[in-house]
């Protein structure tokens, strides 16, 4: 797994700024993949829908995931988007936002939706906690305690 900036996360250290955010995101995605055996691909995006880290090797994956986030926000109308679950015949897609970050995950069919969403939210909170200097931790959607 590598972050989209091409930086290694082997050290696992909390680096300040974007490096730390990318490293923490890559680490969190690895943990999420261990928690969710049915996870096919996942990616973490900042508040402007720029990819921070993804697990997919496909270069277009991040772009499509950003398009999905944009469509979800547009589909939310006047409400503020928090999370989504989209099911198709071939698989399922989950999106969760937390503290200015978004996590998009593609899974197999018939995963436990609430558990997956909860794990994704915890993963995002882990990223924010790992990066106190991350501006996203100051922005926010409130970081409510409900999952």
């Amino acid at each position: 797994m590598a972050d989209v900036n091409g930086k290694s996360n082997e050290s696992g250290a909390n680096l300040p700024g974007d490096d730390g955010l990318a490293a923490a995101s890559a680490r969190v995605l690895e943990n999420l993949a261990e928690l969710e055996p049915q996870l096919i691909a996942g990616g973490i995006f900042d508040s402007e829908r720029n990819p921070v880290a993804t697990t997919s090797d496909s270069p277009t994956w991040a772009r499509e995931a950003a398009a999905l986030l944009e469509a979800l926000e547009a589909g939310s109308g006047e409400e503020e988007f928090d999370s989504a679950h989209v099911a198709s015949t071939e698989g399922e897609v989950f999106a969760v936002t937390e503290s200015g970050l978004s996590l998009v995950a593609v899974t197999g069919r018939f995963v436990l939706a609430s558990l997956t969403s909860y794990d994704m939210r915890m993963a995002l909170r882990d990223v924010v906690r790992s990066n106190p200097r991350n501006p996203a931790s100051e922005a926010g959607n409130g970081g409510s305690d409900d999952a």
Partner: protein
């Protein structure tokens, strides 16, 4: 004791019940949906056929295809 023809009818009706249940499960499994939760705590299932739902479903399908 049931008459022989009642046993046959019961068996046939049991098989048709099984088949109907299988079809119901199959239909349910193939159902697509778009469910959004808002920060207010409200949740909405976008109706299939709505432009927003179609756009989201299309983006999700592309993402699933890429894997």
């Amino acid at each position: 004791m049931l008459k022989p023809h009642r046993v046959v009818i019961d068996k046939v009706s049991s098989y048709t019940d099984e088949a109907a249940a299988f079809m119901r499960r199959r239909r349910h499994h193939r159902r697509e949906f778009v469910r959004i939760r808002f920060q207010s705590g409200a949740e909405s299932d976008l109706p299939s056929g709505a432009p927003e739902a179609d756009r989201i479903a299309a983006a999700a399908r592309r993402l699933i295809e890429l894997g």
